[in-house]
């Protein structure tokens, strides 16, 4: 077993660190320093920024994002079935029916729990997904 050639890797690591440190260091040494009215502001392509970047987002958006990811992924499974409908035959048809039935059951449950309601809750009495720390 011959020893591996390690020096290119070490050289690479050293070069990466040198470039990163160098960029910061050189701009620190050579860069201009002035304090104008807007020098602390973030650069937004010339548009003056308004407000703080630390917005409190309603958690409802995350819920919708999660639903999107889940159902999007599941539609991807249906696409893969769709391109081989003929070869998969009736057995494949039954399998995709079971799959979609599970999805529908999950959707019905979410609907019933009020997870799809956007406004203030109308259903349920304080349980379920809807009121888990959702504040506007």
């Amino acid at each position: 077993m011959e020893a591996p050639v390690l020096w290119p890797w070490v050289l690479y690591c050293v070069a990466v660190i040198a470039v990163a440190v160098g960029m910061v260091l050189v701009s620190y040494v050579l860069g201009e320093r002035h304090r104008g009215k807007a020098s602390g502001d973030p650069y937004e392509s010339g548009i003056v920024s308004t407000g703080s970047a630390r917005l409190r987002m309603s958690v409802k958006f995350y819920l919708v994002a999660v639903f999107f990811v889940v159902f999007d992924l599941e539609s991807a499974f249906i696409f893969t079935w769709a391109i081989c409908v003929r070869q998969a035959g009736w057995a494949g048809y039954v399998e995709i029916l079971v799959f979609i039935a599970v999805l529908v059951a999950a959707l019905a449950y979410l609907w019933r729990e009020g997870a799809l309601d956007w406004g203030a809750g109308t259903r349920g009495k304080g349980s379920g997904i809807r009121d888990q720390g959702i504040r506007d």
């Binding site: 077993m1 591996p4 998969a88 999950a106 349980s127």
Partner: protein, 528 residues
Amino acid sequence: MNFSDLLHSAMHDLLAPGASLSAFRPELTLCATILVILLAKMALPRWTTSAFWLTLLGIAAALWFAYPWSWASDAIPPAHSIFTGVLVSDSFSVFLRLLLLLFAILFTTFTQVSGVASQDDMTEFYVLMLGALVGMCLMISANHILMVAMGVELASVPCYVLAGTQRQQPRSSEASLKYAVFGAGAAGIMLYGLSLLVGVLGTAHLPTMSTRLAMLIQSGGGLDRGLVLVLGGLMLMVGVGFKLSAFPFHFWAPDVFEGATAEVAAFLSIASKAAALGLLVRLALGFSFHPDPAMLAVLAPVRHYIVVLVGMLAVVTCTFGNLAAYGQNNMKRLLAYSTIAHAGYMMMPVAAAVALVGVDMGEARAAVASLCVYLAIYLFMNLAAFAIVAFLRNELGSEDLREYAGMVRRSPGLTVCMAVVMFSLLGLPPLSGFVAKWFIFLSLISAKLWIVLAIGALNTLLSLFYYLRVVKVMTLSAEPLHRPAPTIPLVSMAGSYCMVLTVPVVLLFFFAGGLLNWARAAASTLLY
């Protein structure tokens, strides 16, 4: 093979009589139960305990399907892979699955007796539990790296939510978040490690991976690939160590156990651990074994690596858990460290089994059997400990050990149960904990892992003090002046539940032979 043939063979593998689907019935039953209890909540809102009864029914049905009715005691069918090789169905997975389902039945009853899931949350609680259970079933029968990753995730993610079920309590949410963040980190590292292993070996199918590994070593492979494999193995161990709460990855355990309810802590400490050990056995034996004797001899350095890694982690985990348990006054934290220590004990036979592969296959199987015995006994004693903590919490509103003072006068029966469980966790005869440790130490002797054996024995001594302290506070300390100690008679739901769990802790000592036969059968189809 063209696409149509591929599809045909996959269909045949799935649907032919006695093929994949029939071996997968217990898991499918659990999945169906999840759907049924969700639908029952929508369709029958008046039936408030529907989730509990349907869960119990579903797990009982899964248990019925999981029980190997057709096996004769002397002729256990050999292992066969299902779903085109991603899962393996053998006696080991059947045994662990039975154990998990038995635990699930006891656990579901426990949650109902202690009343942890309120009527609003009950459905979600059981859905999450069943989801985690399916993941654990996948973990113990995984035969493919993708299934390892999926099983671990499916078992972990519901547990993060379960840890946060007490939404009103900030401590519970904190536990949930800590668990999720730590789990995400561990899963990320594990996936990276897995991708390194798969990348170097060019396959994700475990038996094929061991073949490629042997070929790589035979051809002199090159040190750089060896380094990547070692790194991949370490990273894989991070993920498994997280599930096991093994030493450097145990940080979540005390905090999560303290924040979550005692019921959820019991689930994490028993079911999650059993599944993680099953996975560890699959991976450790998978990489260290090859049916061809020539290849098997070539894999010796891999075995050496795994023995050192697992043995060292086991020893450190065990010692750390036992030492850290000393200063704990919160019972759930104490039991969390006790769980960590027991994870250490249970990793020892895995190291022994790997050390014995290639030396004496029969002894290697015996080492795995000793792990199965330990898991079965650990199920009863640890669940009993958490059950008593939960019932006392309902009475006292506290999980502080000092609050248990003087219990022996008011609830003598429950105190005796707790004492039995503590002595059994410690490993004193004539209780089943002794048998469990005995078999594990025997497997270490036959593997000649003397250092691990010595430290394991020393640890039993170390653990003496904190287990005894619990008993001492309950019996010798005086009752606090400001209120009487809680009264839980044995003839009540809670008391009789504790009895049901404590009696096996004693009886399994006397019927250890029967349990050992079961465990031997469980390990009998491994390593062929």
